[in-house]
Symmetry: C2
Subunit: 417 residues, 2 copies
């Protein structure tokens, strides 16, 4: 099945926002075996929208349109598809009732234009909006399937996941569903993973193995079509087992979570606590940890010691250590981690000191980073040589120390078993 | 002039990356008075690319194509345009020499496929790549102007700014250039700014006023066409003065910088230092400040006191304050700021404590946030009621306290004058 994604919205054409909806839908459609051949963006203009629909109709089996379903005069996606297919617009009464109820229950007067959000087309399927008011539409016109989804990403993604995906698979005549397992790695680069798994990746057919990388993390998505999850698991288990055998040291999760979440969960499970001491990451490490809801159970806090003085006064780094080795050194990283552990009284402490760039520090080039993980038995320091700009170096340094703590936690919890 | 932006790349169609090039180009083209009517994304496929070029040729005066100029077999954008326009591909010798020099100067053997990066088309203008190897191309075919730019954003943006923009303006027959001033506001929402400036925005023609918002910041771009910067400034000065008169309290910069940069620069100029005490922002505030190169002159460091214990032990908040008022309270925010000021010995300290969500804390709903700014004369506390999800609340809280420090710094530096 060949698909095209059309995003409607003048705000995209003036560069106000980026088309993240096309990225989400591309990933999801590819995952269920739909090939995306085109993305199109068109403004809130009835004539140009109809022309774009005509082009899409000619070249695609499935057209997914996002945006232009709201209450204002600008929102004309349903009108455009009605005009193009020669179908009437109808009010979907159950959806209108829900919209009216939303307003009355809040004591707000519903303006007339909100009725438009309950519009559907003749002989179309209504897709409920679980996160908003504008309903979606699915219909088949001649040989082309059409899906109209709302523009706000949260509404669009929920509607796609809860209703649209199943409709597409039904249209494809699928009696099987696609099941995916995501394996997440840290402490190893994408190219090394590909090298280690080259034979598996080159000979893949079912299940498929697709790698993709972020800063400091790599994901492998293992996908297969099956009648149910149990059958899918039987098919993917040998592949996952083989990957685990080769790369288990770096495999921190068998679902799509960032390394900071794996660390927080492992701390929660083992009832341990952590604190952080940061220099070049400047708060990023603490920010990653605290982006995980529920982290307060295990995260006491952190100290951003950006100046040498702060390292001495807030983390008890000995002035002599800094004088002898510099602020960017293995010795300072170790001392920061130990000072942090003492000050917060946590089970573990992580420390990062380095040169994020753009300039050198103490004659050391950008990318020179020392990280340390301390517990009551002592500290272990790692010397990193990172590449990238200021922002990338900071992110890679933060992910690297999280990976080292995860590694330590895992080896301890294995020993305890 | 009606424009279309075509991004070439299968990585976009499988959802691996987002089309940020289209956003950049849309913004830049709109700024010089070019209307962008369509964005298209097409894969690395010669036939589909030619079909997309045909469609674009029919409906657009200017087509800007990004991507597919590299050395590999996948990179066929120039071949596709050559086939579509019936022109030959030629080697641009000066560019080939530069590429060869790049390799020989590094002692690397140049593989044959790199010659492709020096390809141009018959009767085309070559656009140099100041950040990479693949050259760009500009040409006029029948009534349509074509620009081929590289895919990597850094290469594309530099080529556009240094060469392509001027070519487009020349093609438009412009003897004037577009000049823009960006005004940045914080502490006020986009809708309030629009309300305050409604008469100016509604009656605008030249200069134009375009607002756009990020979390905790709003930008207004004031643009005009003029023969030179001096003439442009004469035209925009009265508008800027009027906006300054109405909204000067919130206007933190007359160029496009984030509030944290305005704060760092004002601290540098007044030779003051700052430290931060964070709870719900969890390191984000420190991270924003340390994302500004050169901040180490004025930023001593920070304490992320995520637990009540850390607030007491690391920031000297009195246990009684927490027992009486809770960790999320004006009293705790004030005490955190004062403790931070004392511990770091800085001229200023900022503090944030609040509920980022998803759950309540101490019976207080997500969005309840207290921020404080302290100096040696005391602390001032602000009570915020923020909306949005966890991530948005954290960002808005961090930007709000930065704005309050900026406000304090400005009023002090005005008094000193």
């Amino acid at each position: 099945m060949k698909a095209e994604i059309i995003a409607v919205g003048t705000e995209l054409l003036v560069g106000q926002i980026v088309n993240t909806n096309a990225r989400y839908l591309s990933e999801e459609l590819n995952a269920i075996g739909v090939d995306v051949y085109y993305h199109t963006v068109v403004g809130d203009n009835l004539e140009r929208m109809k022309a774009a629909f005509e082009t899409a109709h000619r070249r695609s089996d499935l057209v997914v349109v996002t945006g232009g379903l709201g209450p204002t005069q600008d929102d004309v996606t349903k009108e455009a598809l009605a005009a193009f297919t020669g179908r009437s617009l109808l009010i979907h009464e159950p959806s209108l009732k829900k919209i009216e109820h939303y307003f009355t229950s809040r004591g707000i007067v519903m303006t007339e234009n909100n009725v438009r959000q309950a519009h559907t087309l003749e002989h179309a399927l209504v897709l409920p909006n679980d996160n908003g008011m504008a309903i979606g539409v699915a219909l088949v016109h001649e040989s082309t399937r059409w899906l109209l989804l709302p523009g706000p990403p949260r509404e669009m993604q929920t509607m796609f996941a809860n209703y649209a995906r199943a409709w597409i698979m039904e249209q494809m005549g699928e009696t099987t569903s696609l099941y995916s397992t995501t394996l997440k790695f840290s402490g190893i680069g994408e190219s090394s993973i590909e090298t280690e798994l080259l034979d598996l990746i080159e000979n893949q057919s079912d299940p498929t193995i697709a790698p993709y990388a972020k800063e400091g993390e790599v994901a492998l998505r293992i996908s297969t079509k099956a009648a149910d999850r149990e059958q899918a698991e039987r098919k993917t288990a040998p592949v996952v087992a083989e990957i685990r055998a080769r790369l288990g040291d770096y495999l921190y999760a068998e679902r799509d979570i960032p390394i900071e979440q794996a660390v927080v969960e492992l701390l929660q499970r083992t009832n341990r606590s952590v604190s952080v001491a940061e220099s070049c990451t400047g708060g990023l490490l603490a920010e990653l940890i605290t982006s995980i809801p529920g982290c307060s159970q295990v995260f006491a806090g952190g100290i951003v010691s950006y100046s040498a003085k702060a390292k001495i006064e807030q983390l008890d780094v000995h002035p002599e250590t800094i004088r002898m080795h510099g602020t960017v050194s293995a010795e300072t990283a170790e001392s920061m981690a130990k000072g942090c552990l003492r000050r917060f009284g946590t089970d573990f402490a992580m420390a990062v000191t380095g040169v994020a760039g753009p300039g050198e520090i103490e004659g050391k080039p950008p990318g020179t980073v020392f990280i340390a993980v301390a517990d009551r038995s002592g500290a272990r320091v790692y010397d990193l040589r990172l590449s990238g700009d200021r922002e990338i170096i900071r992110m890679r340094a933060a992910k690297a120390v999280l990976y080292r703590l995860w590694e330590r936690l895992r080896s301890q919890s294995e020993q305890e078993c």
